[in-house]
């Protein structure tokens, strides 16, 4: 009897803990785009082309423009803070809900290095991933190695929101939120969600700076490379073509660290060829095809109008690839040297 009382007490305590934790999740975690994007993915089953990647792609690729260029409905699943393991599980969800014929993997090489080890995990994708057997594996891969706070208390990343809790609760109880309206997401002033995963960034007066970048092959996280292999394998298993691209950074940025970019491009080309997939590096896109300058970027992300131009080029390019008529030299320089000497 005493033993049963003990177990009962522990159970009640756990229930109280779960209730409090759930309330904190509800009142502190604001409405976010990831939720809207995931809904857009599962609410439709006719996407023919899906783009995976990071915030570079989220700002740089307008899926609607790509759709109109290719004639194939496209969904942009590039999400800020999306690491390769997140892309892998997103792709699983893609294949469960849709039957795409092309997966475009927008590789931001930086995401091969800075793997989240901190409590701030950028794990909105993990947190919002629907409960399933896949989520269990996702938990094993993503949350298990993380600090326990990141796994148990998703609201921790938003703990500064206590003063705003009333508004968050109000939003979450509204029909707009229930209906996945992106207007419920509090966006930065010059950002606007355009749908299908693309954020349009209005131009500002901000002066973009050139950051020096570093590429150290020895520092690459091999677990991330393994996820890349798994992504390719998953596409193959679903008879879906996968191509790897890289959304361009500014030419000034490349010129400032050309040796490092060279090393990175060589590595990524090898990674793609080792996995038997084509790689198209839009950092080497010809000026005559898509002209971009430092002023077209805001913290490394393309402004909306530049993104529209890039998306048009990308759409045409994908169309050419699909038709088997692509002439790579029409689109790209051979090397950074050629890009410099344009």
């Amino acid at each position: 009897m005493r033993k049963h009382k003990g177990i009962l007490l522990v159970s009640v305590f756990l229930v109280v803990f779960i209730i409090i934790n759930s309330i904190l999740n509800f009142m502190l975690i604001p409405s976010c785009l990831t939720r809207v994007i995931l809904h857009e993915l599962v609410a439709s089953n006719d996407y023919k082309c899906v783009v995976l990647g990071t915030s570079h792609g989220e700002y740089g690729i307008d899926a609607d423009i790509v759709s109109s260029e290719t004639g194939r409905k496209t969904m942009n699943l590039c999400i800020g803070g999306e690491y390769l393991q997140d892309s892998y599980y997103l792709l699983k969800k893609v294949f469960q809900t849709n039957h795409p014929d092309t997966i475009v993997f927008d590789m931001d090489y930086d995401y091969l290095f800075n793997i989240p080890r901190s409590a701030i995990s950028g794990s909105s994708i993990y947190n919002l991933y629907p409960f399933s057997l896949d989520k269990l594996f996702y938990f094993k891969d993503k949350a298990l190695g993380m600090e326990y706070r990141a796994a148990l208390f998703p609201w921790m990343d938003y703990r500064e929101n206590f003063s705003n809790a009333k508004n968050i609760i109000k939003t979450k109880l509204s029909s707009d939120y229930i209906n996945f309206n992106p207007d419920t997401v509090n966006m930065v002033d010059n950002n606007e969600y355009e749908g299908h995963g693309h954020i349009y960034r209005e131009r500002t007066n901000r002066t973009e700076k050139v950051d020096l970048v570093k590429f150290d092959e020895a520092g690459i996280d091999q677990a991330s490379v393994e996820y890349f292999r798994k992504i390719v394998k998953l596409c193959n298993a679903n008879n879906t073509k996968i191509i790897m691209i890289t959304t361009p950074v500014s030419v000034e940025q490349i010129n400032a660290s050309s040796d490092e970019f060279n090393k990175a491009f060589t590595y990524l080309s090898k990674l793609a060829s080792d996995n038997h997939i084509p790689y198209y590096n839009f950092n080497l896109v010809k000026d005559s095809v898509f002209s971009r300058k430092l002023q077209d970027y805001n913290i490394g992300h393309l402004y909306g109008d530049a993104a529209a131009s890039y998306s048009t080029v990308l759409g045409k390019f994908l169309n050419d690839v699909e038709d088997g008529q692509v002439t790579v030299s029409d689109y790209f320089y051979d090397s950074i040297t050629d890009l410099k000497n344009k």
């Binding site: 007490l9 901190s118 600090e147 990141a150 796994a151 609201w155 921790m156």
Partner: protein
Amino acid sequence: MSFISTELLLLVFITAAIYYIIPKKYQWILLLVVSYMFYTSYGLKYVGFIAFTTITTFLGGIFIEKTAQSGKDKISANKATMTPEEKKAMKAHTKHNKKLICALILLCNFGVLAFLKYFNFTIENINSILTGVGITQRLGRMSLLLPLGISFYTFQSMGYIIDVYQGKYPSEKNPFKFALFVSFFPQILQGPIGRFDKLACQFYEEHKFELKNIQYGLQLMLWGYFKKMVLADRAAIVVNKVFNDYTHYTGFQVIFAVLLYSVELYADFSGGMDVVIGIAQIFGIKLDQNFKRPFFSRSISDFWRRWHITLGTWMKDYIFYPFTLSKPMNKFGKFSKKKFGNTIGRVLPICLADLLIFFVVGIWHGAAWKYIAYGMYNGIIIALSNLLEPAYKLGLNKLHINSEAKPWKVFQIIRTGILINIGWYFDMGVNFNAAIVMMKNTFVGLSLSTLTDNSLFKLGLLKKDIQILAFGCIVWFIISVLQERKINIREALAKKPLVVRWAIYLALIFATPIFGYIGATSGFIYAQF
């Protein structure tokens, strides 16, 4: 598998669930399997080292005992025919053989530890000497693995072999049971350094499920996480900034960083210990305490009796006593008594032993001169206070100071705190020279305006962070005062109504995500030894 990771918690809870379900006689086997799983999670390459220590120490224990037994058997078999001299010779022979085996095991294991930890340090110093004498040739460094927890499990195992040699207890006959003693997963990375006679029986006895053990274990774990995440990780921001960039900071900025290093190190190490002891308690195993409110110490020697207690007692039992009671030291004692009189003559061998111990403590902390300086700094203070004790007592008498009066005790606590904090310059400084530069800079730029011009808030922490840090320290201080007054807080808490208890538990659970520092996760400091 970090001690703050989700997988560690999951491992503990799943293991605990299985532990209390399976037949009790298999409980220790489960702990052994999980311990090796845990250790392997850091890399298979490390397992060979711990297996080597386990096997050599286990066999060493068996051989020592067999040697002793065979000596005894021979004497009893030939009791009638042996002369007293022959018996004496046989005993001496047996003792010699036992000593030889023990020395061999110590040499092998400390040899591995010394080689892995100090080889490159030695090479660097030889190269410096070569440079000094104008020789251009250099000895090459080696890329060496340093298995996790090697200092802890080596010391624990060597304690066992010395005890078996001294006949304190019989050797363990089951290699797997012995393997658990060496590898028990909560304590393997950062201690506490356990003793076989206290631990082994706990490992192998059957443990019933007791809610109290789970409750107390979880309480300790939560308290440990609170200290680590709310205090240590936050203090580390300022400490790392100032110590890593030491030429840029002076005066109160340095003092602030040094004081915060006290907070960081104590919160980190004792927090880690709380987590370790808490996990062990969930399995019904009571590990030794490693801390006893060290910042209430009235002297440096008192501090070392309260700080990293298990290392201190290990040093005392296996180095201090054997050294001071050795024949050469006896001779030295007699010599110094003749030369310097009874008082100093009696203390001098102890002073030498203190210096030796703190040299070992210093080098145990790491292969760098700064650690040796840190150890010697403590050793010299303790040796000097031993030597000067008569003069000190005389001074107190002359000044009519009651050494048991409260104000005097407070003065002693503050004085010890200052001395301890001076030692941190060596412990945390980038190197020995940096420590000296920082000491100099402490006085160079000492300006009271630093306290009012907000420059202390420009060391990486926001005002809010400092407020949380201060509040956390106050809570910790109050708890420490209560414990110092022999109030058992956990017992007192257990007597409170359920609602109060639960409120406190929930507050502790939610304290780390609400107030804990969020940043790059750093493991426990002492998990790197």
